[in-house]
């Protein structure tokens, strides 16, 4: 993207909490350099100004949960040269994908006075289930350093340094003592993709799996080890069913433990 014209950046929101977009605003110091390098064409959290497409780079947050959104993501894709999805909602369906394990119609009938007004899909699905995406940035929320690394890499036309290996690699590199081995805490780190800097183990808690499955996750072996260490099946299911519950390796394994 080395051209005289500043590349146009758009940020789109689907079913989500806005936390990932806020990570971008949270970049504070770097935000000024970013504004210097790109033209912010659509970013509702930051400005009301909207510039028409096509866009050089679209960041998409959130999952697809309504027929309207399923249609809107097609337009976003058509208008975007590069489409990057950010966060657990956009990459795996998010916490709202917990409904994928239940009957949504039943929820709607219980929660809403007039269920007829609610147009919702059966399942919360990631963006890649609807359109081709150019990069998936994981995390709930995404790590702002990784987000800046990704944007910097795209602007300079190089490969982003975003590893797909386990959280354990980061955990050991920062010198944290393993909570699973030294305290017997169940930890999702061995099956979760790095990116957070192994935050939770450094605060003496097992990893929650915010960054979704790592490149070749062996969830079956990890949960067998937890069970061996005394974790009960319902707790295994709970550990696997959080922000990335519907990511295939986590979903499959949680269903195996859910009787």
């Amino acid at each position: 993207m080395v051209s005289k014209r500043k590349p146009k950046l758009a940020v789109w929101k689907f079913a989500s909490c806005d936390g990932c977009q806020l990570s971008l605003l949270d970049c504070e110091d770097e935000l000024l350099s970013l504004v210097g390098r790109v033209e912010i064409a659509n970013f509702a959290e930051a400005s009301r100004a909207v510039i028409r497409g096509p866009y050089d780079l679209s960041l998409v947050e959130g999952s697809i949960t309504t027929p309207h959104d399923a249609e809107r993501i097609q337009r976003v894709r058509r208008d975007s040269k590069r489409l990057i999805v950010i966060g657990a909602c956009a990459t795996a369906g998010g916490i709202q994908a917990l409904r994928n394990f239940q009957d949504v119609k039943e929820f709607v009938s219980i929660v809403y006075a007039t269920p007829d007004y609610i147009a919702t899909l059966d399942k919360s699905t990631p963006i890649a289930a609807h359109v081709p995406v150019d990069f998936e940035l994981r995390g709930c929320p995404v790590n702002k350093k990784q987000l800046l690394e990704l944007i910097s890499a795209l602007l300079s036309g190089r490969k982003p340094n975003i590893p797909a290996y386990s959280v354990c690699v980061e955990c050991k590199q920062r010198g944290t003592v393993c909570v699973m081995v030294a305290r017997g805490e169940p930890c999702m780190g061995p099956v979760t993709q790095a990116g957070c800097g192994a935050l939770c183990p450094s605060y003496v808690r097992g990893c929650y799996g915010c960054f979704g499955p790592m490149e070749n996750p062996n969830v079956e072996s990890l949960t067998a080890e937890w069970r061996h260490r005394g974790v009960q099946a319902p707790d295994v299911v709970r550990a696997l069913r959080s922000f990335n519950a519907y990511a295939e390796p986590f979903r499959r394994e949680s269903e195996a433990h859910d009787q």
């Binding site: 350099s33 590893p163 393993c178 070749n216 062996n218």
Partner: protein
Amino acid sequence: MKSLVIERTDLEKLFSTLVGRGYRLIGPTLREAAIVYGEIKTVNDLPIGWTDGQAAGQYRLQRRGDAALFGYNLGPHSWKKENLPPSLRLFSAERRDQSFVIIEEPADELPMAFIGARSCELHAISIQDRVLMQGPFVDPTYARRRNQTLVIAVNCGQAGGTCFCVSMKSGPQATQGFDIALTEVLDGHRHYFLTEVGTTRGAEILNDVPHRAARDVEKAAAQRIVDRTAATMGRKLYTGGLKEFLYSAYENPHWDDVAARCLSCANCTMVCPTCFCTTVEDVTDLSGAHAERWQKWDSCFTADFSYIHGGSVRSSTKSRYRQWLTHKLATWMDQFSTPGCVGCGRCITWCPTGIDITQEVVSLRERQPGRKEQSDGEP
């Protein structure tokens, strides 16, 4: 080698002498439910009266019944993190008009003194030396750190649950690679260190530390401690014909069994004191005016590690574990003339699923097609 004795009460003088000579002391200390290596200042920073219980996939801090300073076995850290840091900026670059300038990294501030290195660790360091500073290509940061660093070794007073240095001929008695070596003796109400000097640098340091010649009974007491450690190893590995065996075990059915348990999490390579693989990452900032090159620990358990044009050579966990074990115990010998394992047991203790290199070798030997029934892997 002449043996000396330093009384427990005089050990502080060794620490203060080192600090006084400008050394940064790195040694064992309690942190986050384990004994790790970190910056220490005085004898009181040592894990006094603490030890650990270790098994495959398990480590627990425990209280001792005495006030031993070095009465523990190895923790998750190794000296590798000091000699070859997990991430290290190699240089930076700034854009200047149509060109760029390279900004070199400043050299480290103070030289380090390693306090409490064990024999297997000294062997691991010499293995890394061979790879990183004795071949045709020298890692300059590594070489600088190694040449500056002073090493105070400690002979092991007990064997850990996952130790097998005796099998790997790397311990428990330190025989090389130290400036000063200590054996901690707690004998009734006496507490002293039988001391050996390995270098003139070490002898010179001892000039400032009260000591005297060791008596024969003291030497014998220290020797008994090391002998008892050697006799109570937590693990053993039968190494006879191992290299040839592993070269013939490529299709062994047991690799599938390990792969079913292995998480490909890379913990074993991170904690291993001989694993030396690093990768290089180039980063730029948003403005594109500033770039940096970083060196980071890498692992053969990741897909990127064996990525070449078109894909990863080792895409399965099975192929990665097989490569790791075979490298440690076989191909390393052809490459560097020693095994790549010193029997420290860290990969066994710190594997979240307790995969045990010694046990996997036994199973591989047992399950090798065309081999008659064996039970313990020893022919």
